[in-house]
Amino acid sequence: MFAFDQDFPKADPVPRGCGDREPGGIYAECGLSSRGRPLEEFLIDPPLPIPPGLDLVNKPQTWQRQLPSGEPALDEEGMPIFDLLIWVGQEHYDYCPDFLEEVKRYGASRRLNPNLDLSLLSRSSRMILVHPLVINTAWQEQRPPQSCKKEVPGHDAANAASEDEVGDASNETGEESNSRPLLRLIGTSSESLLPVLSPASPRTGPCLFKLWELIPREAAQTAIDILDSEVGELPPGAELLPLCLREIGSTIYQYRPTGESTDSLVPGIFAVLPITGFALVRYQDGSVNERAKEKIVAGLQVHGGHAIPVYETDR
């Protein structure tokens, strides 16, 4: 009954931090695409505070987008744009990186309340994501992150240092920025594992990417201590950090905990993702949630070719 070309990006239906998708569920997805851009471009760094009064905990809701002028934002069809405000709960994703690492690998899939008016959403809509432990209020007292993948000036030691210093560092590795962390991971370099910040460096923050370093060692399923002999001589002030592996759902990712406190983390908005489609997960009898489907079909009539595509799936 749907007129969509089914060839649109979909999230992988793998077991996730929040478990398997449930029969009858309606999910907003951000799938992975060969025409896409890296996830980092969709992250908000530094993360933004939740507007006061927004009651979001476990209550996904639609929100009409406004222009900075206060006027309603309109899409190319002249229709008002509604976004989805979504709480990524700590009960399933203890740490914000749990969720982001999962999205990197399998795309995003967030369950929606079928009572939401899904017909309001169009291809211009976005998922605005919030996690309870995102804004690091103690960033000025803590060490800068090893790297800020958005390369926000002043966020990490490299970005806070002079341009000359940055240039030298790049020449030393001779690698693309994306592969640098990996080479560090496999321990071929004797470079400092923790940046040493010059007191004179202008710092900005808080950096979203510090969150990886704040995950406690105890949260790892596997922790590997790197021996001095394995990395060679460390520069003065450098610290050898354990390599920790954390498993969440189908995701296994690595982090290097600094042992700094997470007590200073407060809720914040950390990402704005496109909605590439809706997934209607079938019940055992092959049917789907009709109430949700009706609203999506209503959205089709309202938004036409600008409507969000939908598909039915068994998982």
């Binding site: 695409s33 896409g36 009064g53 929100w63 900075p68 496999i186 592996l245 993702l273």
Partner: protein, 355 residues
């Protein structure tokens, strides 16, 4: 300061003997002039019959802690069900009002409960008591707010933890406490019953400045409606979302006709093919593994990925330490991301070992 808690923590336990004007109307409608005579007695818990105990068990558990701390503050109402008179040792009683309290008392280990005992019940009496209980339950939040305000005004140093220790829901208490701290003109409206719970809940979500603004309106006699508070709240949240809206307006072209831009998935598409190749090559022997590892010695992410995938298919992998397996899986996932994110021109290719 425990003595002040009863008024704070009594959620639904009003003494039903008090006939308020509203209850008097109910009485008259039910054809009753007054509540029937009754006696206050200690009744053994095993002689109390609680209808629907299974449905109430969960909510009754929440009262156990407070009963252990301060006992039952308002007597349940019961009516004699079996026996010749209420003083008969064989008499049993059905609980009409306060079923949760009785269940919680049992869970708390109390052997007797002080009850208001009615000798005989009528349909009207049961209905009346049930109605009064429901009415009191729906208005209880206002009394809680009032009591919390008293604690604040008297400077009682209690924390939410202290209050929660009595077994009451922390989120509910936190909400009541916020309501109790509303500016006086708004709190007065709450306490006088002129503001619904729904509106009060929205009021506490306003910033202090916005609350003061609404309070000023209240002082002028303006009606505080759900709609007006909702509008103010919406405007407040929109203001807070401006940085996100800015990012959306500047960062991404919202009117693009293209599919939303999302991370590149080409390595995912290529992955099954690579694994297939590994399987076809029968990569379970060490020779193949060594070959793959030799390939990995070149500075190439894809060759490293191939080596790790090959390793995952080797018998050595299955017998290796769990940490090695986990590290391998983590590296495979990370390599796929790294390959995906690398610009096409920069994607390394597998180079032959000898040229």
């Amino acid at each position: 300061m425990v003595h002040t808690l009863p008024s704070v923590l009594t959620e639904q336990d009003e003494d039903i003997r008090e006939v308020t004007p509203a209850n008097a109307v109910l009485l008259r409608r039910l054809g009753l002039e007054a509540l029937p005579e009754h006696e206050t007695m200690f009744v053994p818990t095993e002689r109390l019959i609680v209808a629907g105990a299974d449905q109430l068990a969960r909510s009754a558990k929440r009262l156990v802690k407070s009963i252990q701390h301060v006992g039952i503050l308002q007597n349940p109402s019961v009516v004699m069900q079996g026996g010749v008179d209420i003083h008969n040792a064989e008499a049993t009683y059905e609980v009409i009002a306060g079923r949760r309290r009785v269940l919680a008392a049992r869970l708390a280990g109390l052997s007797v409960v002080k009850c208001e005992v009615y000798e005989a019940s009528t349909v009207q009496l049961s209905a009346l008591l049930a109605l009064i209980e429901n009415e009191q339950r729906s208005a209880a939040w206002v009394r809680e707010v009032e009591a919390l305000r008293c604690l604040i005004d008297e400077g009682v140093g209690m924390t939410l933890d202290d209050l929660a220790a009595f077994g009451f829901d922390r989120a509910t208490l936190a909400e009541r406490l916020k309501i109790a701290q509303l500016p006086t003109p708004l709190l007065d409206r709450v306490l006088s019953g002129n503001v619904s719970r729904e509106v009060a809940r929205k009021l506490v979500r306003l910033t202090q400045a916005q609350q003061e603004r609404v309070a000023s309106l209240a002082l002028t006699g303006a009606e505080i409606t759900a709609e007006s508070v909702k509008d103010i709240l919406r405007a407040q949240i929109n203001t807070g979302l401006v940085p996100v809206q800015d990012a959306l307006a500047q960062g991404w072209n919202t009117t693009s006709s293209h599919l939303p831009v999302v991370p590149d998935t080409s390595p995912f598409l290529a992955q099954p093919q690579r694994e297939e190749q590994v399987d076809q090559a029968g990569c379970v022997d060490k020779e193949c593994m060594q070959e793959a590892c030799q390939t990995a010695s070149t500075p190439s992410l894809s060759s490293l990925l191939a080596a790790l995938l090959a390793f995952e298919h080797c018998p050595d992998y299955r017998t290796s330490h769990q940490a090695v397996q986990t590290l391998t899986q983590a590296l495979v996932q990370q390599l796929r991301i790294a390959l995906r994110d690398a610009p096409p021109a920069a994607q390394p290719t597998v180079q032959p070992q000898s040229e």
